[in-house]
């Protein structure tokens, strides 16, 4: 008799479970050994990786960035009410971690110091050439900084009155701003600054990789990496295609003299780096002049 009761109870619980649970097979499919939130026990990484907790070394949010040398008129013209409201709203997951401590990993890393510009990567023939893709070492060579670390204070830089930092909000654009379409996204370009429509106006966004402009504003720098020339303006790197200047990823080894407003200082292994638009810049000295080298932090 008691067995029947137990069996009946067991069946009820089983049916309840089957009805109540959207069964496995369509959700977070991967394990998350580094996530220690909620009521989940803290799980040790499965391999010999000893990564720091994400929140500890996470770059400070942009609201804390230094504003040294910010021209007064730009502060006054920054109607940041709406962006600030967004920044103050709680985020979905408390922000991602981009501070990977590569030193504590025991894998062989492949870096992209001399990877081909995006135009080459978009070549479908190359993309679907499995030999090229899987042999990352073909164009992903290990990168070592060329210049020695030489700390000097960060002075956020402005490229004149027409240049604006990331996040800057403009109610309207100059009449000579022109429209770009990159990866089904529309951008407006004006004087080395890229905008996207936002909250009834336009917000400055990072230069989209692949964007082509006919000319760069005065004040751009030229830097050479390997045998290639790159052009730098407003925190974005360009190559000269012959038909114009195309935005590319920041090339490792490029040396520039100015970092835009909006960079965040980050201390890694006792050295202070600047992080701007997900690119790490190492303070260096070149010919007695303060400069920054694009590096890969490892």
């Amino acid at each position: 008799m008691s067995f029947r009761i137990l069996f009946s109870l067991g069946m009820i619980i089983l049916i309840t479970a089957l009805l109540a649970i959207p069964q496995s097979g369509h959700a977070q499919r991967m394990s998350h050994p580094n996530f220690n939130g909620g009521g989940r026990p803290s799980a040790a990484p499965s391999q010999n990786f000893n990564r720091p907790a994400p929140a500890v070394n996470r770059p400070a949010p942009p609201v804390n960035r230094p504003v040294v040398n910010r021209p007064p008129q730009q502060v006054q013209n920054h109607p940041a009410e709406q962006p600030r409201q967004i920044e103050n709203r709680p985020t979905i997951n408390g922000a991602g971690n981009m501070n990977h401590d590569y030193n504590q990993h025991n894998y062989t890393r492949n870096t992209a110091a001399h990877r081909a510009p995006v135009t080459v990567q978009k070549n479908v023939t190359v993309q679907h050439n499995v030999t090229v893709h899987e042999n990352v070492n073909v164009y992903h060579n290990h990168y070592q900084p060329v210049h020695a670390y030489a700390y000097h204070p960060y002075h956020p830089y402005y490229w004149g009155h027409n240049w604006h930092p990331l996040g800057f909000f403009a109610a309207s654009l100059a009449t000579d701003a022109f429209l770009l379409s990159i990866a089904n996204q529309q951008y407006y370009y004006d004087e080395g600054v890229y905008y996207q429509p936002s909250a009834g106006g336009y917000s400055v966004v990072p230069a989209p990789v692949g964007a082509m402009v006919s000319a760069l504003p005065p004040g751009y720098e030229t830097t050479m990496v390997g045998n290639d020339y790159y052009y730098y303006y407003g925190g974005a790197f360009y190559i000269n295609t012959g038909n114009g200047y195309q935005v590319v990823q920041a090339p490792y080894g490029a040396v520039v003299t100015q970092i835009p407003d909006g960079a965040i200082q980050q201390d890694i292994n006792g050295q202070t780096y600047l992080v701007y638009n997900n690119t790490y810049y190492q303070p260096v000295s070149e010919n007695g002049t303060d400069a920054y080298e694009v590096v890969q932090v490892n």
Binding site: H26, G96, H140
Partner: protein
């Protein structure tokens, strides 16, 4: 003699190639792209997106059979979530208003509730672990997403550019001892996830899971009532049962 030499060289090349294939390889370009995506998601205060998921379920007589669901996801930080799901598993909804998690099955007109106060990802992780409830493509929302991949992956490589639904995307692939995975991340200012595929290489017949994410809305204003569950007329309350401990 020349022939022997040729085959010796060929053997050495083959051995070297084989050895390199076994080596752990993490492509920092891939890591950088995933970092950007993760940072973007981490900066969101609310979002809405659609997931079309396809998954294999093993049939004794038919092998792997494909099934699919369409899901609408609404999130608002730090602790509000709504998932509306339609597909082969019926029409279901999952509400989380920061205090109560409610599951509702339209076909069965049944609901279950669970008192729980936690941020979204903590709630997802806890409920997934305790009750086996899974959340569509929620891996991307873990703040430790990239760290988790790096911890477990033998290989993680950026393959190149390709298109998903006509949109240029970074194509990234990797493998852990138990699965192969691929992500497609949009090549635009937002760098949002567009698609993911997982192949369970350690499971029988290597079933796959595929999710295509679309209709992204960034920081939309969502009413609080969206996340509050109202018990439908005549709905029966059932108990949420704990799942067996996962491996």
């Amino acid at each position: 003699m020349n022939k022997k030499f040729f085959f010796s060289v060929l053997f050495c090349i083959s051995a070297a190639t084989g050895a390199s294939a076994q080596r752990t390889s993490i492509d920092t370009v891939a890591v950088s792209i995933l970092d950007r995506m993760s940072a973007m998601i981490g900066s969101l205060s609310s979002c809405h997106y659609t997931v079309r998921s396809n998954y294999d379920i093993r049939s004794q007589h038919l092998g792997l059979v494909k099934h699919g669901d369409d899901e609408q996801i609404y999130m608002e930080g730090p602790n509000k979530l709504l998932i509306r799901s339609q597909g082969d598993r019926g029409e279901r909804s999952l509400y989380y208003d920061g205090e109560t998690l409610s599951y509702y099955s339209l076909e069965n007109n049944q609901f279950a509730t669970l008192a729980l106060t936690a941020p979204i990802v903590d709630m997802i992780d806890t409920v997934n672990k305790l009750y086996g409830i899974e959340f569509p493509a929620s891996d991307f929302f873990y703040p430790t997403f990239v760290d988790d991949l790096l911890s477990e992956s033998k290989n993680l490589i950026y393959l190149g550019m390709t298109k998903v639904d006509g949109k240029d995307c970074y194509h990234i692939a990797g493998a852990t001892p138990d699965m192969g995975y691929q992500f497609w991340i949009s090549d635009d200012a937002l760098t949002l996830p567009m698609k993911m595929v997982i192949v369970y290489t350690s499971r029988d017949m290597n079933p796959q899971y595929e999710a295509t994410l679309s209709d992204w809305q960034i920081n939309p204003v969502l009413p609080s009532s969206l996340f509050e569950f109202m018990v439908p007329p005549k709905a029966k309350k059932i108990k949420m049962a704990k799942s067996p401990v996962k491996k």
